[in-house]
Amino acid sequence: MDGEDFMPIFFEKKQLVTPGDLLAEGEYLPGENTYVEQNKIYASRIGLVDTDNKKVNVVALRAFYVPKMGDIVIGAVLEVGFNGWTIDIKAPYTALLRASDVLSRPFKPQNDELSTVLNAGDLIVAKIASYDRAHDPQLTVGEPGLGKITRGQILHVTPTKIPRVIGRKGSMISMIKQETGCQIILGLNGVILVTGKTLEEEELAIEVIKKIEQESHTSGLTDRITQLLKERKGKVEEKVEENKNE
C-alpha cells in the first residue's frame, strides 16, 4: 500500500466490506464489484477487498452468474419449443439451444420430434455460443464433452467460488479428480457434475468440493484438502470392497 497522501486507501488486505464502503481515492482503477463516484471507489457487493497493482477488486461472497461467451455451463431443459429448447442456466436470463445445433443436420419439424432428443428436466453440458445485452444467451453442444448428461451427481455452489474449486492453474480440481477417480465437469454458472465409478467416490468428491466452497477464503486450503482426501480415500476403498463382496 502506498504511503502517498494523495492516494489514500481505506481498507486492509482481505477485509470484509459491504455495499457502499469507501475503498480508495485517487488514481486507482475500479475492479470487480466496485464502482466510481466522484473519483472515489466504493464496493458494490459484500466481499473481500484486495488490490492488484492499482486495481481495487472485491471478491464477492454472494453473486449470481452472468453469461459470457465461451463459458462451459450446466443447465436444465425448461421447455421443448418449436425449433429448439429453453434452458435454465441459473443466470438472470434463460438460454436457448437450437435444434439444428443438436441434430447437426437441417432440422425439419415434420420429421423430428424434439422431445425424444431432449425433454423437459434433462440436464446438459453446453457452451455459450453468443450473448449480449440485447439477446438471450445461445448455447451450443457441438463440441466433444458437451451434450446430455446421462449419469453422475449434480451439486450447486456460488458461481464466484468456481475459481477456487479449479485452483491455481487447475491444481485443486486435478488433485480431486486424481484422488477420487471421478470425472468432474465445472459449469461456470455454479453447477458441478461429478461422475465416478462408484457412489462412494462421487460422495467423497462432493464432500471435498463443499468444503472448498465453505472455506474458500481461508489460507492453507490446498493442504487441508490434500489431507482430507488422503484420510478418506482408504475408507472409501474399504467400503467399495465390502459392497463388492456382498
Binding site: P19, D21, I46, T94, E215, H217
Partner: protein, 245 residues
C-alpha cells in the same frame, strides 16, 4: 398500546415509552433468514417485526413488464392480518399499494438498473407486527435482503423517521406518537453517498422544525446503518470463522 397516554412527552423530556427525544427504539437485524429466497432479512424495530425477501435478477413475468434497457424493481409491501390490533383484511389496501411504490422508489437509486436489462428483481416485505414507522423499517430490511441476494448496490438504504409531538421534535415515532402527534417525517437515506432517497411529511411543521426533523432522522439513519452493516457481515463472518477453525 391500548391506553392513550395523557401526555406524549413530560417536563423532563421523557416520552411516553420512556425514551429521550433523540433516542431510537431498540433494533434487531438478521440476514439470510429464509432459505428459499435469494436474499432475505428480518428486522425488529421496537415492536415492529418485518420480514423481507429478495429474488433475482431473473426473467420478468409477465414478460411485457420487462424493460429493454434496464432491470425492473418490483416491491410488495403487505401487512399480515394479525399485525395490528383490529384484524386487517389481507387484500392490499390503498395504503399498502402506496407504500409498495414508495419503498420501490426509495430503493431504486441504490441499484445499477442499467446493468442487467430485461430482468426483474422482486422484493417482498411482510409486516408481521406493526407499531408505527413500518415503511422505514421495511426499507432498512429490504435493502439488506437485496444485498444478501448478491445484487450490486451503490449503498445500503436506511429508513428512519422523525416527527413532532407536543411541540417537541423527536426521533423515530411509534404508533401512539404517530397517531396523536403533530407531524411525521419519514426519511430514507444512503449514508455513504449522503443522498436522501425518500422524504415525506404528514402533518404541519414550521420550516425550522422541518429542517431539525430531517437532520435528526439522518442522524438516526446513520446509527441504524452501522447495525445494518454489522448484520450483513455477521452472516458471512460465521462462514469465515468455521473455515478457520
Amino acid at each position: 398500546m391500548n391506553e392513550k397516554p395523557e401526555k406524549l412527552i413530560d417536563k423532563k423530556g421523557i416520552r411516553s415509552d420512556g425514551r429521550k427525544a433523540d433516542e431510537l427504539r431498540p433494533l434487531k437485524l438478521q440476514v439470510g433468514v429464509l432459505s428459499n429466497a435469494d436474499g432475505s432479512a428480518y428486522i425488529e424495530h421496537g415492536k415492529n417485526k418485518i420480514l423481507a425477501a429478495a429474488y433475482g435478477p431473473r426473467e420478468m413475468h409477465p414478460k411485457h413488464l420487462a424493460q429493454p434497457d434496464r432491470m425492473v424493481l418490483r416491491c410488495r409491501y403487505h401487512m399480515a392480518p394479525f399485525s395490528v390490533q383490529e384484524r386487517k383484511s389481507p387484500a392490499p389496501s390503498r395504503r399498502e399499494v402506496e407504500l409498495s411504490k414508495v419503498i420501490k422508489e426509495s430503493l431504486e437509486p441504490a441499484l445499477f438498473l442499467e446493468l442487467y436489462p430485461r430482468t426483474g428483481v422482486d422484493v417482498f416485505v411482510e409486516v408481521l407486527q406493526a407499531d408505527g414507522g413500518t415503511r422505514c423499517a421495511s426499507i432498512t430490511a429490504a435493502a439488506l435482503a437485496i444485498a444478501d441476494a448478491g445484487v450490486p448496490m451503490r449503498d445500503l438504504v436506511v429508513g428512519c423517521a422523525a416527527g413532532k409531538i407536543d411541540d417537541t421534535v423527536v426521533l423515530d415515532l411509534y404508533d401512539a406518537e404517530d397517531k396523536l402527534g403533530a407531524a411525521d417525517v419519514p426519511v430514507a437515506y444512503m449514508p455513504a453517498l449522503n443522498a436522501i432517497t425518500l422524504l415525506q411529511m404528514d402533518g404541519i411543521l414550521a420550516p425550522d422544525e422541518f429542517e431539525k426533523a430531517i437532520n435528526m432522522a439522518i442522524d438516526g439513519c446513520k446509527k441504524i446503518y452501522e447495525m445494518q452493516k454489522e448484520a450483513l457481515k455477521t452472516k458471512y463472518m460465521v462462514v469465515k470463522e468455521t473455515g478457520e477453525e
